[in-house]
Point group: C5
Chain length 89, copies 5
Amino acid sequence: MQVARVIGHAVSTVKHFSLTGWKLLLVQPLHAGGELDGDPLLAIDGVGAGPSDRVMITSDGASARAMVKERKSPVRWAVIGIIDSVPKA
Amino acid sequence: MQVARVIGHAVSTVKHFSLTGWKLLLVQPLHAGGELDGDPLLAIDGVGAGPSDRVMITSDGASARAMVKERKSPVRWAVIGIIDSVPKA
Amino acid sequence: MQVARVIGHAVSTVKHFSLTGWKLLLVQPLHAGGELDGDPLLAIDGVGAGPSDRVMITSDGASARAMVKERKSPVRWAVIGIIDSVPKA
Amino acid sequence: MQVARVIGHAVSTVKHFSLTGWKLLLVQPLHAGGELDGDPLLAIDGVGAGPSDRVMITSDGASARAMVKERKSPVRWAVIGIIDSVPKA
Amino acid sequence: MQVARVIGHAVSTVKHFSLTGWKLLLVQPLHAGGELDGDPLLAIDGVGAGPSDRVMITSDGASARAMVKERKSPVRWAVIGIIDSVPKA
């Protein structure tokens, strides 16, 4: 799992049917140093995250398919948590 | 999933039988900053994408094998959506 | 598996139910040269690691789901060992 | 899947038994810009590719295990096509 | 699969029970240009590799779990061959 920030979303009319009704958030992972400069990813939203929210993302085909309730969906990335804070050790 | 652009396609005579009849699009992922400079990937086309289209790509063996209807296909990457726009947060 | 150091943890109220009760450690992988500068990852803690501990991390959906005892959990990264030393060859 | 070029092969006497009889090609993926400078990978050859051939490679455990006909083989990367040309969009 | 060199090993007292009795080799993958500068990885040793050996490594959860004979092990990386030579094409 990674820490990322919601930077936008994708609008797509022609797409795999299993993605219908899911918001596709554009998220940018946190890289070393704390800056947000990772390559953007598209993730379905499982927690109701909003613009600029700091979120937890994951890449797991099996659980993502369970979320969209479609056994053969090509979905992999999902937002699975909203992060309140990240205290350093 | 990632945002990518269709930059070409691959012509291959000798290939795994499960790829016969599938267009192999050469796509280039979107990197941080918005420029299209990710390493090119070959993906089967599940949505009828055309040259220069902005698309959604995914890497998922299970669903890709379902697309080509061949349980032991080595295919992994697929184009699963055409992107109309990406509004920023 | 990779060598990483515990550099913090994430506090998240809204999250996938399977993550409830698990500490989410922020860990930074060891890169070439020995310096700790990999991109930070969030991992569930399976061994009771503490702040600044050097740990072994892994990315495996099947075993991570077994750890949280929830077949459809989106969890992937886990801390699976505390490293005492790394003698060079 | 990715476009790569065959740059050599590996000779290995002591290895997992499931790899016996398979040619292990050293291939170098194509990176952005068209130059061949990706990190080299070892892949079993499923199509009879020769030195300097431009090929299609994939990373998929399930199909690679099917190719070597050994359910528990650790093989993942395979050459699954010889590329004739890559017309740009 | 990748070519890597054995550069050390990890000593870990507190770890997932499935790793007990397995040597955890610290290996460094070969990058483009031939130099050994990839990020170090921890891999279980399935072939009896020694310090400084050039080896073949793989990342495959299913086969690694078969090696340690524990269906829910979090192990993923394994050394699966000792490389004698890598003739260039």
